[in-house]
Structure formats: C-alpha cells, structure tokens
Symmetry: C2
Subunit: 415 residues, 2 copies
C-alpha cells in the first residue's frame, strides 16, 4: 500500500454505514478518505455536516476521483446500478446489501471475474463472522459436505424471548420491533427471506454453485406457538431457525426451517445477536464459527476489513462450476400427524421420498401436528401441520423452479 | 498457478505427514509432486515403497528440484536446520512443528520477512481450525483485546474422561495413552507446554508481539483430582485447561491454567478431539472458532491448505511491532486457603496485586485449597494449593524473564 489515501464513495448511512464511517476514521492506518456519502432522505437529521453528503447517488458514482465503493444501502434498484456500473468501470465494490447480492449473484460474480474487479460481501453474509473469507481462502481446496447455521438474529431473538419469557410470537415480535431488533415490516426476517439470501452467498464459496433463492425451501417462524416451545422443552429440545445447504445430485439443496435441536447442540446456546455457522468439511471435519451477526460496529468492521482486502484483490471463486465430490449427508425430517387416520398416506410419502435422495422422513405420530426435526411445518393458527400444508407450500413455489426437496414431496402429495 | 506440478519435499511421516500425503494425492488439482519423504527410522515398517523415502534429510533439503518444504517432524534440531536453510534459499516452508516454531519464532518470522519467503504454520496452532489465517488476513486491521482457548486435545480428553467416568488423573492418562491420545511421555501435553507453544504462534498474529514461551504462566492438569471435578460439579462448573493471552502494559501476558467454567460457557461443551478459540475483537466483538485440533486428516488438511496458500504468498504480519490500543480486560483469579490462618496474608496479596494491573484476585475461603477461577493451582498430592506453591512456580521461571503476573505475585509472596 502506498502512503496515498484511497478515495471511497459511501452509499447509505444507516447503522451499518455509520459503523463503517466511524471505524474508517480510526483504523486502516488513516489511509481512507471518504469523499462523500450518498443518501436518499434530504430531510433526515444527520450526525455529520450536510457537506459530507450528496443526495444524488449518480453524482458520487461517477465522481472522477472515486477509487472504491462501499455499498451499504437497502435499495435494490439503485444498488444494482451502483454495483454494475462500478464493476464495469473497474472500481472495486464492498457491499452489505444481501438481498441485492443474492438476487443478482450469478451476474455480479460473472462480472467481477470478467472485469477482474473485486466485489466483496463478507458484511452481507453473517455480519462480523469471517465465513466468506474462510470458505473462499481456506476451504477453497477442500470439499464441503454441508453448511448449517443460525444466520438471522431477529428470528433468533424472537424465538429466545418466546422461550425465556413464555410469551407469544406476536408479543415477542412487538418487543423486538420496539427494541429495534425487528423492522416495522418483519416479513424479510420472520419469513426467512434474509436467511435464504445469506445461504446463497455462502453456497457459491462452499460449493461453487449459484443457488437461486427461489429454490430454497423456506419456512419462517410466524406460526411457532408458545405451546411448541413447551413441547420442545418437554422433549429436552430447543427450537431454532436453522439454515441448511448441501449438495444434492447435480445441484444444491437449501432449506431454512424451524428445527428441534438437542440442548447440547452448539446452536442451542446461540443467543440473540449472535450468529453461528457450521462447516462440515470432508477431510478436516466440523468447524464452528460464531460471532455477532448484526450491529453497527460488527457489520461496519466487516465492511472495513473488506475494503482493506479489496486493495489486494477479490475472491478466488476457486470452486465455481467445478465438480465437487461430497460425502452424502442425510437430513431427517420428522412428520407427525394431526389425525391418526392420515398415517397410511404419510408412510407412503415417507417410503417414496426416502427411496431416492438424502432426505429421510420419519413419522412421528401424535394427534397434534405434522412436524419436522429439521423442519417444523405448520397448518393453522394452532401451529398444526398436515400434508395439506406441504401442498400449499409447494404451490407457492414457481412450478418450473421447484427444488429437489419440493419436487420429491410434490410428487407424493399431489399424485 | 501454472499447469506444472510443484515439487515438494516432505519431512516426517508420522500421522500428520501421512495425512498430508494422502490428501495431497487427492486434492490440489493434482498439482503436487512429493519428490521424496525424509524419515529417520530405517527399520520402521512403512506404508509406501522404500523408494519413496530418504533417510538423509540433508539430501532432500538440498535436492536441486525442491520447490517447497512440508516440515512435519517432531525433531527440533533437524527441523531448525531445515526451516532456516530453506528460508535462506528462498524455498517456502509449511510446518506443523509447534515446539520448534514457538521456540524460534522471532528468528523465523524475521527471516521469512527479510527473505520474502513464506513460512506458514496453521497446522501447528490448532490443527484444522483456520485461526492463524483468520487473525493474519481478517483481523489484521482490528485490535484484538484477548484470546482464550482450549488448544490441547490430550488434556481436554483426560479432563473429560475423569469427569464422565469418575476416574483418577492417572487412570485417565493411562487410558489416553493406550488409545493413542497421549504420548508415552505426556509431559508436553499434561504440563501445558504444548498449549504454551500454540499461544506464542497465535500472539504474533493477534497482537503483533513475540511471546517468549518461558514467560507464560503455565500450570498443567497433573494435580487435578477426582474430588476437584466433584467440587466443580457441585458448584455447576466444569474444569477445563484454558489458554489465555492478552496485552498487558507494554507486553503481553500468557496464561495456561486449569479453569472453572460455567456450564453454559461455550468452552464447557468442547469435547476431546476438538479445540476452540475465542477472539475478543475490539470492534466486532467475540468470535468463536471450533474444530478438530488434532488428527491425521484434519492436521494434514491444514498443511495442504497452507501449501496452496504458500504459492501465492506468506503471512502479512501486519501488526508486527506496531502499537495496538486494546481495551483493558480483567482476569479474575480466585485464591482460596488451605488454612484459615492464611487469610490476612492472602488479602494483602490481593489488595496489592489489584492495585496495578488487570488481574483481580478474589479470595475464596475454605479449608481445602488455594485455587483460581481462571487458575487452579495446586499444592500437593491432595490437590491443595497455597501461597507456598505459587512461590515454587515462580522459582521455576528464569528470574530475569518473569512475566508480569509472576512478578506481581512474586513481589507479594516473596517479600
């Protein structure tokens, strides 16, 4: 690195942008010069002098002295233009915008490789946890069999407070919103979209394949009841929202489902703001990484680390589109019945799903629910689950983009 | 990387060398050519043809086609010559020889930087856990306040089996030796030398300072009794051998001590072959990395990852000899008395040690022992501890190389 400062354009000044701004002033050997900060809202009270800002992101995007971009907006349309334009101009980009990245991953990765321009997104994957860096720089020669994680702090906070305080989902959500842990529109977190976006970012580095977020079997925590926690507790289990991704046939399979965990499971003790990710590597075994998955300084720190990394190059994408040879893993889904009369149909589903693939369905028979060990699917307000609900989930998917899991279940349920 | 193979000399063919050899044949795009394996014992039965070996390490070290060295011996003298010679010749070295590295770290790091020749040692620090890579490439711009870890699998196995089977240290050690988890001379593991070597390797990347292993306050598990586990259990605690390192004044302070942990502590659930390391980073908070700390394939995989990394460069050593500005942390040491009559002297020690520095001593008064929350110092066969024992520990240190902790305690105890 020369002694010259690097001229950075910062896009977005929410908590993450502010965290980055603060740390950039203290660290990186004072080599960072933030030329301007692009924000949308002209009326919002800011902590910096008005001259630090521009309200026209294109003005900053095309500034002649711009050398690196930090994209910390939550704006998908402007963000897309910013990243694409920058890469085409050969300007390195560091981004925390997981939705934008996940939805355009194939195009962005392709562009970054073709233009040889770094595009780094550690801050988007699991806050401060160096999971992308580890996968891309350390596990890039080793086959990864699977990845499992708690990668959404909001749902983790809600599940924890439901359990600890014995309150309903609605109350826990309201509390989380009041404390700033959940947004006013909680859909993104609560329905597990956010976790699905992150899974896509992890998958390209773990398995070398682009995972379409629409192909992820995604089931949030909206329908988890107080009683579900009590029932889990009685069985010495804890309910967590677990994201899971693993190679399956020629593709990869992504799942984000409420899951019963044994209390001794490392994930059972992951508390509110923390995320945790387990890498199951073929030769070196299980690795756990745990750290703060959100927050102004942790995420800002991840952006700053990426800025420094971007000065010496981008990701290796060493596995991209290269055949891997993972050990098969088995996901066990426990389905239980609302009504004992459904048992024959269920056992038939189980038999046929197990016949091909690495998903094992185990019937758990009680009168209350149809539920999953990984997977805790629900049917109605009472948190009950039936094959009918599974059909409904499948119907929500684009029929031409069904994941392997869904196709298997669909074949059985719809036939 | 060109399509040409890289010519590697492998030194040592114990479990780790064999693990590396096996994986090198399967991975790394078949770009590795192991030209020969240097071993000492001519009579030992080997799994490969005799032609694969040389019994003269110097012959391999000076082979004209040698391009990279994998040093997996446990031979300090030959290892020193191998690493030094290679670096001076500009041949990159990957090593798993923690004792050799820790004892010569200043010289080796200096030589690696001066000759611009990579010297990588991820496999020496905590087996498969990418801790050095993370510290060196991801946390190299962020201040680290402290590192804490379980970094010796043998002692962890012994402590676990003592607790679970209710057996004595001697029996647990004997079992571990029979199962190959402990060596016939267990001193290196049991007296915490091994953990101290690893702490030195972590410290140079976390804090930018070379930690002399002789300055580490090191107390093994040899004197832990069945009754100690029972007592811990009664207080809802678990005893683990915890390595701890943090900046203190102008230097750094290293401790490896049996420690009482709350059962909810992440480290309490770390089982036999696993290691775990916590990085307390100033901005991004606590990070936990957990993985296999030993074993043929996990450690062999770490060597292979380092080989690939060495082709593109060595460690950054970005923090080396640069001032850091960590947040102060406090280590609480609980001293308890064998004899209530010692209480006044102990309280005096406590007051004065606390007066300067980040070590807080809390008296735990019972008639049985003088013990540490972090720190479980012992006095005699019955596992009892007194100020007398501390004096003895201090006397074992070179008097001109006392660590800060020891000096503080010495001042109080010897005066």
């Amino acid at each position: 690195m020369s002694t010259q400062k690097i001229n950075i354009g910062l896009f977005g000044f929410g908590p993450v942008g502010q965290g980055f701004y603060k740390l950039a002033g203290q660290r990186a050997n004072n080599k960072i010069n933030i030329i301007r900060i692009a924000v949308k809202d002209q009326k919002k009270e800011r902590t910096l002098d008005r001259s630090a800002f521009t309200f026209d992101y294109r003005e900053l995007l095309h500034a002649p002295d711009l050398e690196l971009i930090v994209e910390a907006t939550d704006d998908e349309r402007a963000g897309y233009e910013i990243i694409k334009t920058a890469l085409l101009k050969g300007i390195p980009v560091v981004s925390a915008n997981k939705k934008l990245l996940a939805n355009n991953l194939e195009e962005f990765v392709d562009l970054s490789i073709k233009t040889q321009t770094p595009l780094l997104y550690e801050a988007a994957a699991a806050g401060a946890i160096p999971i992308i860096t580890s996968l891309d720089s350390y596990f890039n020669d080793e086959v990864v069999n699977a990845i499992r994680g708690i990668i959404n702090g909001t749902t983790n906070y809600i599940l924890s407070s439901m359990l600890q305080q014995g309150i309903s989902f609605e109350t826990a959500l309201k509390n989380a919103q009041e404390l700033g842990f959940a947004e006013s529109d909680p859909k993104n977190d609560v329905d597990a979209y956010d976790a699905a976006f992150k899974l896509a970012l992890l998958s390209v580095h773990a398995f070398g394949k682009i995972l379409d977020v629409n192909d992820i079997l995604r089931y949030g925590i909206r329908f988890i009841k107080k009683e579900d926690h009590q029932e889990a507790e009685a069985l010495d289990k804890v309910i967590k929202l677990i994201a899971h991704v693993f190679p399956s046939g020629d593709g990869i399979e992504g799942l984000v489902l409420p899951t019963w965990l044994a209390k001794e499971d490392d994930f059972s003790s992951v508390s509110a703001e923390f995320n945790a990710i387990e890498i199951l590597a073929k030769d070196s075994g299980a690795h756990l990484l745990k750290g703060k998955g959100a927050g102004s300084l942790p995420t800002g720190s991840a952006l700053l680390n990426d800025v420094i990394k971007a000065l010496s190059g981008g990701y290796t994408y060493k596995k991209l589109n290269k055949a891997q040879n993972p050990d098969g893993i088995e996901i066990e889904v426990i389905l239980t019945l609302k009504n004992p009369s459904e048992i024959n149909g269920l056992l038939e589903v189980q038999k046929q799903v197990e016949a091909n693939g690495n998903i094992k369905i185990t019937a758990w028979i009680n009168t209350r629910d149809l539920k999953a060990q990984i997977g805790y699917l629900e049917e109605n307000e009472a948190g009950l689950i039936s094959t009918g609900r599974i059909r409904k989930v499948i119907k929500q998917s684009k029929s031409d983009k069904l994941s392997c899991t869904e196709k298997k279940i669909q074949n059985e349920v719809l036939n």
